[in-house]
Symmetry: C2
Subunit: 368 residues, 2 copies
Amino acid sequence: MWFTKFQFMKKSFLTPGPSELYFTVEDHLKTALKENICEVSHRSKIFQQTFLHTVNELRTLLNLPQNFHVVFTASATEVWERIIENLSAKHTYHLVNGSFSSKFYEFAVQLQRQALKYQVPENQGFDLEKINPPAETELICLTHNETSTGVSMPIADIDAIRKKYPEALIALDMVSSAPYPELNWESIDTAFFSVQKCFGLPAGLGVWIFNEKCVAKAQALQQSGQSLGTYHSIPSLLSNAVKNETPETPNVLGIYLLGKVAEDMNRRGAAVIRQDTNYKAALLYSVLEKSNVFKPAVKEKKFRSQTVVVAEAAPENIKKILEEAEKQHIIIGTGYGKLKDTQIRIANFPTHSKEVIEKVANMIQNFS
Amino acid sequence: MWFTKFQFMKKSFLTPGPSELYFTVEDHLKTALKENICEVSHRSKIFQQTFLHTVNELRTLLNLPQNFHVVFTASATEVWERIIENLSAKHTYHLVNGSFSSKFYEFAVQLQRQALKYQVPENQGFDLEKINPPAETELICLTHNETSTGVSMPIADIDAIRKKYPEALIALDMVSSAPYPELNWESIDTAFFSVQKCFGLPAGLGVWIFNEKCVAKAQALQQSGQSLGTYHSIPSLLSNAVKNETPETPNVLGIYLLGKVAEDMNRRGAAVIRQDTNYKAALLYSVLEKSNVFKPAVKEKKFRSQTVVVAEAAPENIKKILEEAEKQHIIIGTGYGKLKDTQIRIANFPTHSKEVIEKVANMIQNFS
């Protein structure tokens, strides 16, 4: 490590993205520079090997079936746009319970789709019975983990939606949960995430996963005369991905680092990461349940996120705990948007150690 | 520097992008990590200061008037798409003389514009008399430096086009020349570049510059019912930029590094960078003119790029000089696409030292 002398005052970022860098990132950066990763052509063998390595490590980590393709965008925000452009002509249906699921819906509106939404208040999950996309729905947009409010969608609910609506494409936003959830991939057609959350990487890269049903849909839309966009349309991305390349000069360093961190995570094992995440989340929810000051913002246990734990309290206590944490060099996330003064968001990502989460749990427990 | 022990075998990348990292990048990366640049929120003061610093350094370096806005995208490729989406309803006109100017045109076609082009063969410039966009043209798309063939557009020609067509918006691709050209900013409305060329930075960031006339055009198109896209529409980018923010979580590290390198370049001075570039280019063209083996690929001197010097020769000599250079740890760019076997492209960017360019010039001079 380069900064041994600074370690003593190194801050811990328990913010829900950008967040703490994965603990191996500095070393990988050093290797990347040594190996000229930022300098080689994005049409070179070295790049193609890097691309393939990253995709393969992600396949292993996410247990991704072979009929899914993996491509890279600049952000998960970009993927919202590309999904609407490439996988719908008119009719999209969105489950909305916070700022990010709402933006996915708004993107469909801005792209002039006839977008419908089933919305519930912040910090709440969805009633399966009330999910009723009309027959003409082409695309159902789900958010596994609503980063703004810490509400997670149970895997069983995703499976149930697929069972009830086998025709429509199902898109899943996994921005702040991947690689945590153990998905049944047959229940979804496309998924995406960005790398500055659970992967602990510098921001500026999105990962977009889609299956053959998505490819067929995009081709059908194109044949019907619809523009799918340009370089980041599914046909363009795919024709490059089969060569382990990207249409444009991409964030090469980001793709390299993602592959290295995914490899590190595979060495640890997805099951162990999941177990550790559950342990740390349980610890946080347990002290929140017992606290007289802080409460879990999500009341129904089955909807509580394991990766973004949100607590609510009176504004003066929110302010105080953020300050107390900062004195201990721990940066906790504030509430999102209008919830800024009444909530905190604690990221519980793979890079966040048990020690630092225990420290925060103690802080909540001993708060007075 | 971290890699003193590897320096002796460090390669020089004289490729036209990705290319050699600017010589200060490693140190800035180190500082970025120390200052948690990858970890802070993109809604924080630290990010806003970073954004503002980068924009201000670019304004100085490019001598950019205040009526131009600076925003960030993922690549210059993305900007092609955003310009067509935001600044045209139907009629675009393109000057095409290589792969990249051609792609700009193709993007307009894919976005279903009635795109027209005036095309000349590779390695040639345009005849001012033959540039005749029809009256209904909304957007004229120019490429200052065609990276695939080393053809540059004289600044006087850009000025002449503006004078003749004061109504249409003029877009300028400066991907592989910025910050070299000393533009008359009143002659163009929007310009863009990526950072892995002359700025010597890791790929994954585009810079998009546009004036108030562009903002008005985008607003008018939106009011007419046209979709401008979503998060990277001009209104969305601008409403965030006034807060020194971006719509999405951007490539924060890339924005930080760009600001630092632009600051380094300002310390050196744009005039000095220009002078050094001219000196190094003159050296290369001079040995190419005298060589019996290699010839400048661009015959007309006024169209020769100062930042991407392209030479042609018989395939066996192209192969041989690439190999000879590699033995000396110098990576020279191959010809682009179908010109791969008959041309070489030598990047002459600010980070490329006089010494390494002199080495290449000697190699050409002594080639046998």
